[in-house]
C-alpha cells in the first residue's frame, strides 16, 4: 500500500476515535447511547422471558421448507443484490463518501481518489464492526433463550455484513457503468443497461444453477444463501458451509479492489454536481429569510406557512415523489389484495403449534411497520440543515414551529403506514385483527411525536444540524418499541372494561404532548 493511503486510513481512524472520545464525554450523547443499549437489553430480556424461542426456531426450518421452495429462497437474496445494483446505478457511487471537508482538503491535495475511498471505507467498516459487537452484547439474553450457538449467530451476522458490503460495491460498480455509458451514448435507450445488469444479478439464482454445487455459487447472493442453508440444514446440499463463507470473502475482496480501482477523478465531478443541486434546494428554503415573502403570502398563520414551505421544498427532492407514488400504488395494491384474495399471493398459513405466537407477532409487526413508516418524522428538523437556525431566529413561536413539523410529519407517516398495515392484515390472518389494527392510529400519533422530538434534539447535541448523531438515530426505534409495547400492555390490562376508552387516549395524548413539549424545549436550547 502506498504511504499516503496508509496515512489517510490512519487519519480516518483517528477521527473515529476522537468522535468516540467526544461522544463519551458529552452527557446527553452518553444518555442516548445508554438508553439505546439498556433499552435493547431490557426489551430482549422481556421478550425472551415471555416467549421461549427454542421451539419456534426448531420449527422455523420445517415451516420454511413447506412454505417456500429452494429457488424462492435463493431468489430472495438475488433480488437483494439486484435491487442494490439498480439503486446503485442511480446513486452517486463512490462519490457518496466524499464530504465537503474532503472537497477543500483532499481533492486539491496530491492524493488519488481511490486512496480517499479506501480511507473512508476502512472507517466505515471499523465503525460497523464496533456497532455490531455492541448490538450482539445488547441482544445477548435473546440469543441465550433461542438456544442457538453463540458462535453460529456471530458467524451468520458476519456473513450477512459481508453480503451487504459486497452489494454496496456492486451498486458502486453499477454507478460506474452509468458514468461510462453516459459519457459515450446520449440516447435515452442507454438506460436499458440498468435492466440488463439487474437481470445479471438474478440469473445465478435460477434453480438449475443452484440445485447442485456449481460455479454459480461464486455469486455473492448464492454464496450467502449457501452459508445459511448449510448451517441450518434447511435445503442443505451437504457442502461445508465454510466453503460458502470463503467464496463470499473472496468476492468481497475482489469487489472492494474493483470499486477502489474505478474510483477515479470523474467522481469528483459527480460529487460537485450533486452538491450543486443540493445548493439549489438550500436556496429555495432560504425563502424563509425574507420577511417580505412571508407577509406577502396569503397565509398569515405561521404553522400553515411552515407546513406549506416544508411540503413544497421536500417535493423538490426527487426521493419525495417516489414516496407519494409508493403510497398511492401501495394503497391500491393492498385494497386489491384484501378485496380479491388473488391465488398467486396467498396469506401466510400458520401451523397450529405456532398459533400461540401469532397475536404477539402481529402486534410486534404492527409496531415495527409503523415505526419504519415514521422515520421521516425524525428528519423533519434535520432536513432543514443549517436553515434550522434561520427558522429559529424567525419571528415564529417555537410551539408553532413544532406543531407545524408534527402535523406535516403526521400526514406523511400516515400515508406511508396505511399500505403497510393493509398488507399486514392480509398476510397475517389473525382473529380480531380489526380491533388490533385500530391501534395503528395511536401508534402513528405517538411515534410521529417522538420522531419530531428526537429530530429537534439534533442541534442541541451537535453544531452540525444536518447529520443525525448515531445514538439519536438508534435510540429512536428503541424508544418507540418500548412505548409501543407499553401501550399494548395498557390496552391488554384494561381490555375487559370500558376504562380502556380512557386509559388509551390518556396514555397516547399525554406522551404525545410530553414529546412535543420536549421538542419545544430543545428548540429553545440550541447550541
Amino acid at each position: 500500500m502506498k504511504p499516503s493511503t496508509f496515512r489517510i486510513i490512519r487519519n480516518e481512524i483517528q477521527m473515529l476515535y476522537n468522535q468516540f472520545k467526544q461522544a463519551i464525554t458529552i452527557p446527553s450523547m452518553l444518555l442516548f447511547y445508554g438508553v439505546t443499549l439498556i433499552g435493547v437489553f431490557f426489551v430482549s430480556l422481556v421478550v425472551s422471558s415471555l416467549l421461549s424461542f427454542a421451539p419456534i426456531i426448531s420449527q422455523l426450518g420445517t415451516l420454511l421448507e413447506t412454505t417456500i421452495d429452494r429457488g424462492m429462497f435463493f431468489g430472495a437474496f438475488a433480488i437483494l443484490s439486484a435491487s442494490s445494483v439498480i439503486t446503485g446505478y442511480f446513486g452517486l457511487g463512490p462519490a457518496a463518501i466524499i464530504t465537503s471537508e474532503d472537497e477543500n482538503l483532499l481533492l486539491p491535495a496530491p492524493v488519488k481518489p481511490y486512496q480517499i475511498f479506501l480511507g473512508r471505507y476502512t472507517r466505515r467498516i471499523v465503525r460497523k464492526m464496533a456497532f455490531t459487537i455492541l448490538g450482539i452484547l445488547a441482544i445477548f439474553p435473546l440469543l441465550l433463550s433461542a438456544n442457538i450457538l453463540f458462535f453460529s449467530i456471530i458467524f451468520i451476522l458476519f456473513c450477512m455484513i459481508i453480503f451487504f458490503e459486497t452489494n454496496y460495491f456492486l451498486g458502486a460498480m453499477s454507478s460506474y457503468i452509468r458514468l461510462y455509458v453516459g459519457q459515450r451514448y446520449k440516447s435515452p435507450l442507454r438506460y436499458i443497461v440498468v435492466i440488463l445488469i439487474g437481470l445479471v444479478m438474478l440469473i445465478p439464482a435460477i434453480p438449475s444453477f443452484t440445485s447442485t454445487f456449481t460455479v454459480a455459487y461464486v455469486f455473492p447472493s448464492n454464496a450467502f444463501a449457501l452459508v445459511i442453508t448449510e448451517m441450518t440444514g434447511v435445503f442443505a446440499l451437504d457442502v461445508p458451509f465454510l466453503l460458502g463463507a470463503g467464496l463470499q470473502l473472496m468476492m468481497y475482496i475482489i469487489c472492494l479492489l474493483l470499486t477502489a480501482s474505478i474510483t477515479g477523478y470523474d467522481y469528483y465531478e459527480v460529487f460537485s454536481a450533486s452538491k450543486g443541486s443540493e445548493e439549489i434546494e438550500g436556496r429555495f428554503s432560504k425563502v424563509i429569510r425574507g420577511n417580505i415573502d412571508f407577509s406577502n403570502s396569503r397565509f398569515n398563520d405561521p404553522t400553515v406557512w411552515i407546513m406549506l414551505k416544508d411540503f413544497w421544498s421536500r417535493l423538490r427532492s426527487p426521493f419525495q415523489i417516489w414516496k407519494y407514488i409508493y403510497a398511492v400504488v401501495g394503497m391500491i395494491f393492498v385494497l386489491y389484495l384484501n378485496l380479491f384474495h388473488p391465488v398467486w399471493f396467498r396469506p401466510l398459513v400458520v401451523p397450529p403449534d405456532l398459533a400461540f405466537a401469532v397475536v404477539p407477532a402481529f402486534v410486534l409487526m404492527l409496531i415495527l411497520l409503523v415505526q419504519m413508516s415514521s422515520l421521516t418524522s425524525m428528519l423533519s428538523f434535520v432536513d432543514e440543515k443549517d436553515n434550522v437556525y434561520l427558522l429559529k431566529a424567525s419571528p415564529f413561536k417555537s410551539k408553532d414551529i413544532v406543531l407545524a413539523k408534527f402535523l406535516l410529519s403526521f400526514m406523511e407517516v400516515g400515508i406511508a403506514a396505511i399500505p403497510a398495515c393493509g398488507f399486514l392484515i392480509y398476510i397475517m390472518r389473525v382473529e380480531g385483527y380489526l380491533a388490533l389494527i385500530t391501534l395503528a392510529a395511536p401508534l402513528v400519533i405517538l411515534f410521529t411525536a417522538t420522531g419530531v422530538a428526537v429530530g429537534a434534539y439534533v442541534p442541541v447535541m451537535t453544531n452540525d444540524p444536518k447529520t443525525l448523531p448515531v445514538p439519536l438515530a438508534f435510540s429512536y426505534p428503541i424508544i418507540n418499541l418500548s412505548l409501543g409495547t407499553a401501550m399494548v400492555l395498557v390496552v391488554a390490562v384494561f381490555a375487559d372494561s370500558l376504562l380502556v376508552l380512557i386509559a388509551l387516549p390518556v396514555y397516547v395524548l399525554g406522551l404525545t404532548l410530553f414529546f412535543l413539549a420536549s421538542a419545544v424545549r430543545a428548540l429553545n436550547s440550541y447550541k
Binding site: 499516503s4 486539491p108 477523478y265 469528483y268
Partner: protein, 303 residues
C-alpha cells in the same frame, strides 16, 4: 529550510520531540535549552549540506488556456486565459458570480473544465494531477475542515499527506501557530473553532510545507481580524519575493490594490480587463482609482 530563530521559538516539549525525530542522542537527564538548540542546529545544518536541494517552481507556475466551464446551460467561465509566474501576486477580481471561485476550483483540480487546459508548476492538471497538486495551497471560499480532528492533528495530517519531513513539520507548525496566534487552540477540536480561527488553522495546514507554493486563495482576508490579515499579507509578500506564485480572488479592492502586482478583472465569466494598476488606469480614461476602473469595467460608474 529551518532557521535558528524558528527553532528557538519552540516549546521545550517540542524541542525534545524534534531532537527525537532527528535521532539526536540525549544522554543527560537535564539539558540546557540553549545547548539543545545548538545540538539541533548542528544536526540540521549537517543534513542540509547532505541533501538540500533548492526547490523552484517551473515558469509559468499557473497557465490557464481557453478555459470554459458550464454548469448545465449556465456558463460560469468563458474563454479565460491566465498566467502567473513565480514571484508574482495576481488578483482575480470581479463582482459576485463572476466565476472567480469556479476558476480556482478548476485550477486546484476539484472540478474539471468543460474545455481548455490548466497547468500548475508545468504539469497538466488532467494528465498529471499528482505533481501538479503537490505544489498547490488552497483556501476555499467557505472554509471547512474535519470537525473531529484537533488543530495539531490536522496540521500533522496535512504534513503527512504532502510528505513533509517530520522535523520540518514540527518547526514550521510552531512558527505559523505563533504567527496566527493559534497556540491556545492547538489541542481544540476544529468543530469548535470560530470562522476566523478555522481559516488560520487552514493557513497553518498549508504553510507547514516548505515553500515555494502555488497559492490559490479564495477571499482569504474575509474572515480574518486586522492583525491576522496584516500577518497574512506580510507573509504573502515574503513568499512572493522567495519565488511563490499567488493567485488571490477577492472583491475587496483595498486588499487587491495593496497586495497584488497585477489584476485580472472578470465579469459574468469573461475577462473584461487586465494589467497592472497603472495600465488599467491608462486604459480607462475617466477612472481615478482601482475602484473606478472596476466599476466602469463591470457595468459603469454609478452617477
Amino acid at each position: 529550510m529551518i532557521q535558528r530563530a524558528n527553532v528557538e521559538q519552540m516549546k521545550s516539549s517540542e524541542l525534545l520531540r524534534l531532537a527525537r525525530v532527528l535521532k539526536l542522542p540525549i544522554l543527560d537527564r537535564k539539558i540546557a535549552r540553549e545547548s539543545l538548540v545548538d545540538k539541533i542546529m548542528v544536526e540540521i545544518e549537517a543534513r542540509n549540506k547532505r541533501e538540500f536541494i533548492e526547490m523552484k517552481l517551473n515558469s509559468p507556475a499557473i497557465k490557464i488556456e481557453n478555459l470554459i466551464k458550464r454548469f448545465g446551460k449556465k456558463v460560469a467561465v468563458w474563454g479565460l486565459n491566465l498566467k502567473v509566474n513565480p514571484g508574482e501576486i495576481v488578483g482575480l477580481v470581479g463582482p459576485n458570480g463572476a466565476g472567480k471561485t469556479t476558476t480556482l476550483r478548476i485550477l486546484t483540480g476539484i472540478i474539471k473544465p468543460t474545455s481548455g487546459s490548466v497547468e500548475v508548476d508545468g504539469y497538466d492538471m488532467l494528465d498529471n494531477p499528482i505533481p501538479a497538486k503537490s505544489a498547490i495551497g488552497y483556501i476555499p471560499e467557505k472554509p471547512t475542515c474535519y470537525p473531529s480532528l484537533t488543530v495539531r492533528e490536522y496540521v500533522t495530517f496535512m504534513a503527512r499527506i504532502y510528505e513533509v519531513p517530520n522535523e520540518i513539520a514540527l518547526v514550521r507548525m510552531r512558527q505559523f501557530v505563533d504567527m496566527f496566534q493559534l497556540d491556545e487552540y492547538l489541542d481544540s477540536y476544529i468543530g469548535t473553532l470560530s470562522k476566523g480561527n478555522l481559516q488560520r488553522a487552514l493557513l497553518v495546514g498549508i504553510f507547514v510545507r516548505d515553500p515555494p507554493y502555488v497559492l490559490a486563495l479564495d477571499e482569504p482576508i474575509y474572515g480574518l481580524d486586522p492583525r491576522g490579515a496584516w500577518n497574512l499579507k506580510a507573509y504573502l509578500r515574503q513568499l512572493r519575493d522567495e519565488g511563490s506564485a499567488i493567485l488571490i480572488s477577492t472583491h475587496i479592492l483595498e486588499v487587491a490594490s495593496d497586495l497584488c502586482d497585477r489584476f485580472v478583472i472578470m465579469n459574468e465569466g469573461s475577462v473584461v480587463g487586465r494589467g497592472t494598476l497603472e495600465e488599467l488606469l491608462a486604459s480607462q480614461k475617466e477612472a481615478r482609482s482601482l475602484e473606478e476602473v472596476f466599476l466602469s469595467l463591470t457595468g459603469g460608474i454609478p452617477e
